[in-house]
Assembly symmetry: C2
Amino acid sequence: MLPYKNLLFIDKSSHVAVFKQIAAQLIKLIQEGKLLPGTGIPSTRSLAFDLDLHRKTAVAAYELLIAEDWIISVPRKGYLVSPQLPVVKPRSFNTNRKAAYETEPGFQFDQLQDIISPLSNVLKTDLVIDDGFPDISLLPAGAMSNLYKRALDEHALKSMASGWDMKGSPDFRTALCGFLNQTRGLDIRMENLLTTRGAQMAIFVAASLIIKPGDKVIVSEPSYFFANTIFEHFGAELIRVPVDDHGMCTDTLEDLLSKHRVKLLYVIPHHHHPTTVTMSKERRTHLLRLIKAYQLAVIEDDYDYDFQFQYDPYLPLASGDHEGNIIYIGSLTKVLGTPFRLGYMVAPEKFIHAAAKKRMLIDLRGDVFTEQVVSGLVENGDLTRLIQKANKLYRGRCHHLSDILSSELGDALKFTRPGGGMALWLKFKADLPLAKVIGKAAPMGLKFTGSVYAEGSRAKYNALRFGFASQEEKQLEQAVEILRLSINKLR
Amino acid sequence: MLPYKNLLFIDKSSHVAVFKQIAAQLIKLIQEGKLLPGTGIPSTRSLAFDLDLHRKTAVAAYELLIAEDWIISVPRKGYLVSPQLPVVKPRSFNTNRKAAYETEPGFQFDQLQDIISPLSNVLKTDLVIDDGFPDISLLPAGAMSNLYKRALDEHALKSMASGWDMKGSPDFRTALCGFLNQTRGLDIRMENLLTTRGAQMAIFVAASLIIKPGDKVIVSEPSYFFANTIFEHFGAELIRVPVDDHGMCTDTLEDLLSKHRVKLLYVIPHHHHPTTVTMSKERRTHLLRLIKAYQLAVIEDDYDYDFQFQYDPYLPLASGDHEGNIIYIGSLTKVLGTPFRLGYMVAPEKFIHAAAKKRMLIDLRGDVFTEQVVSGLVENGDLTRLIQKANKLYRGRCHHLSDILSSELGDALKFTRPGGGMALWLKFKADLPLAKVIGKAAPMGLKFTGSVYAEGSRAKYNALRFGFASQEEKQLEQAVEILRLSINKLR
């Protein structure tokens, strides 16, 4: 209930009757949208008490408002602002005076460069191809629902509310630690682990501790767009090292390291984003040698490790011998789906301690509730089963999409089928500019939200990521058919 | 399953039999904790295939391991690492070589100053007095559980997974916008609203857009510790303005503004943290005038607005005339409880747009899942009912605590009973140093986790926040009794 005492001013010296003053001011509140249609307003008794008036005055004001259809009287509910209001735009809060928040602030602030132009014209009927996201229908919804219910138990809530570990909930970190050691051959303890809101926050925090304006940061070319944006945000000068079919070119890297003082290296050795290339064993060995030789700070972004369709002998670089210089970053978002943002950072304890302090400045207590729920999924084996199920399904989709792309569009684009992950990297031939292909596909109901397209004018490649994991085979066929028609129109 | 192909190396030129080489290396993996007790290992057929060996060799290796109790064979499950392992510390991952993450990194990074020393010695049996947190048992757990279940529906999940609004989920912002306009007399549209992970992230993001190293920022003295820490983190020079019984002294503020180029003002006009003082109407009017005169950037932190035990005529400063210069920050965490971190920022659209870009760098997609659930609570009225219920309960607890403190400890400490909120600000007399009082109370099972205590050596006041909202009356009595005994021991 609004504090009417503060909103209604009565001028007893005015020659306008007090009940009319009240009515006029209530009408103004309604017109300004501060009292919305259907809102309850105080009883005459309570209004009279608040404003120190005789009750009859309040009654007179309300009678006037009822006569003019501004308010109605409803049995057992009292007075409500009339649901059918004679106002122009009741929900837009338009007022005659300019509202405080409709102006621009008078002070200076960083406006930041535009990062992406999110697709605004997606229709409900569109077939939307994403950057490589999971099929959210695989989520064990029943089990999760039970875990949420259990987490909402009073005892569980009290324990979450009273505990506070600046590195993340201990239960979750214990579960995650076991999971990472088991699946990735890491050799870490809880003290090496910080939980974050998605891998993005882990990259942000790590970069913020390492990069000073003007520092040189090596990234692959191409690389994960949002990581580059973070590094540039902190004032880094990006040096780009090409990616070929064996991953980042470590010879070029060695050459650069010998010539420049480099502050940080950002690598995605497994299913590189956006190209899906996995770094070869030789390059990995070379890279580990360089990391030790230069005591180079490295962020290894391993967003896609859990999705391997075949026997894949590559453990993360982080499981190798790097003398504590690799900050290993991953996320459960690719397993659980984009609505669930659970990232993590693995590093030596001293770095994690600093990162935890930084995270606390940004996100005081973290997401202990979701962490509690998801640690249940790890412990009861549902997470592992979900990954196994997903791999089986995604493998089929990957092969199916690759087959139809090869047979239908082999003369229009090239790609290498990856051994895992959730997307193909489709390189269109030069005579088929991506913007034009997409432009033809859109009216036929096919939209792309993946990387590169989202980068807009900054996209450097005539290529896009085609996420197959979230699409059924029929949808994949439909998408390829629309692509084929679009390309035919251009040739 | 670990990639054994990469973990096991067979030296065919060695005079050690291949099956023994395999067994020895598996033992090492078990000893190093890379294979934990109870873990499944590949079948002999699969291992032989992966390592390109005759199956009999794999069988021989496993027979050796079984004989030595390293692994067991379980019908229908295959081979498992023995659950009763002859290793020293199977869960600590101790190895002979130093693990990569046990060293310190070789590169340089910001270590950040220590922020707080979280209380590490809290026992389960302790009575813990917090900074002023809600009683989490009031949460409508059943309704929330249903909302979680509904949000886990495949259709709902798909819609969350595909949508992406960089300012936060549109459903939640619509609901929150209505709630804020209704309860706070704000006059905002969805475009003025950004959701964040707790008020902390909102303060962090706002400050990051405004403060450059060396900038002057005015805060109250005392002020909210974590906000000051953020401002100092961005290199601000803090100028402190005293708080008296009417709130921040605006005369001192005016004087400072006339002498210094001030970049930002941080105020908590309603139930100031930590002192619980509410700023008077005269000061508010003065402050709004100063904001307009200097076009001063202001963060209004209104963490506690929803908790008013009596008719309280104070709307936020943000509802007044400030020409778009107030960034209004709040949170639903104080309503729902600390496990649920849902903050928000209200500002002119242009500022919100920049803040949304910054938030995207930190936390790409935000917490659309929890936002979906909580928008349900707002829409079905549960949030409002929760606030009403809480106010009634907390009012009783506030009065009860005030009464017993006055009667039992009136000669040891002073406080002013606030008209709302969740904590009292207890000022101990000078002959009772807080650290000593707390030191005496701890062995009797009374611990304090509130502000000031957490600030450790940086605490400047012989005072602490005593959160009453989360404690039943019996617990409040118990706490006061222990305080009384502690104080008696010191006198």
